[in-house]
Symmetry: C2
Subunit: 138 residues, 2 copies
């Protein structure tokens, strides 16, 4: 229960205020595995918060990114998708249904990614996008 309490704490501790709009976005995002875009978030939340504006959604997403609670995914050219920041995982984009599936380490014996030094560069994070046909579309 109240799995968004830590997020609220972090928000406040970094000097941001908790508004009903921000709380709504936090509740919407935490645990959400659909990798929604700002458009989708706004569309969905507008049902319950009719006055919610686009700029507030963007503002909140930028704040959540800043405090490390959300990660932008640049998978499509048209828009940014957002992923609640959890344990590291890779993304699988189905080219049929355009959905983004999460794949977690325990399912990914076939994947190994570098940390530390590689070819002289210092690697601090990695993002993997796999493409293909998802299990539902096959």
């Amino acid at each position: 229960m109240d799995s968004f309490e830590p997020t609220i704490q972090k928000l406040r501790s970094k000097g941001f205020k908790l508004t009903p709009q921000r709380l709504a976005v936090i509740k919407y995002m935490i645990g959400n595995t659909n990798h929604p875009s700002a458009l989708t978030i706004h569309k969905d939340l507008k049902k319950r918060y009719p006055s919610l504006s686009f700029s507030t959604v963007y503002n909140t997403l930028n704040v959540l990114e800043e405090i490390g609670e959300v990660r932008p995914l640049y998978i499509f050219s048209e828009h940014v998708n957002y992923d609640p920041s959890v344990e590291p995982h890779v993304h699988f984009l189905c080219t049929e249904c355009n959905r983004i599936h999460d794949i977690f380490p325990h399912e990914t014996e076939g994947i190994r990614l570098p940390v530390g030094e590689l070819d002289g560069h210092l690697v601090t994070s990695s993002q993997v996008i796999l493409r293909g046909i998802c299990r539902d579309c096959r």
Copy 2:
């Protein structure tokens, strides 16, 4: 020499015409390791082809993508970068200088990526973006 002959062949074989503008973009892209954006391509080619328009650059990039000679990279939220499609490699984005470095398999003992089936999904391609500080900026 004339390493772009195969590209021209492929272009023609798929029913596209070879125009001076397209040739210019092909020559600019083939072997280019800078992962330029459409803006950069246009800016650079405009010096030699002053009448070259944006829409022609975009048209040509889309054609080259269609025939598999160029691959769009969604690394930044703001714009698309283009990579001449060669042997599989991963990309390293330096968060200091914002340059994209190529890293090829022989340098990447630390990386393994899946092919075929994974967690029920059929994986056909993969894209890896590493982030950190590049060897020049360290």
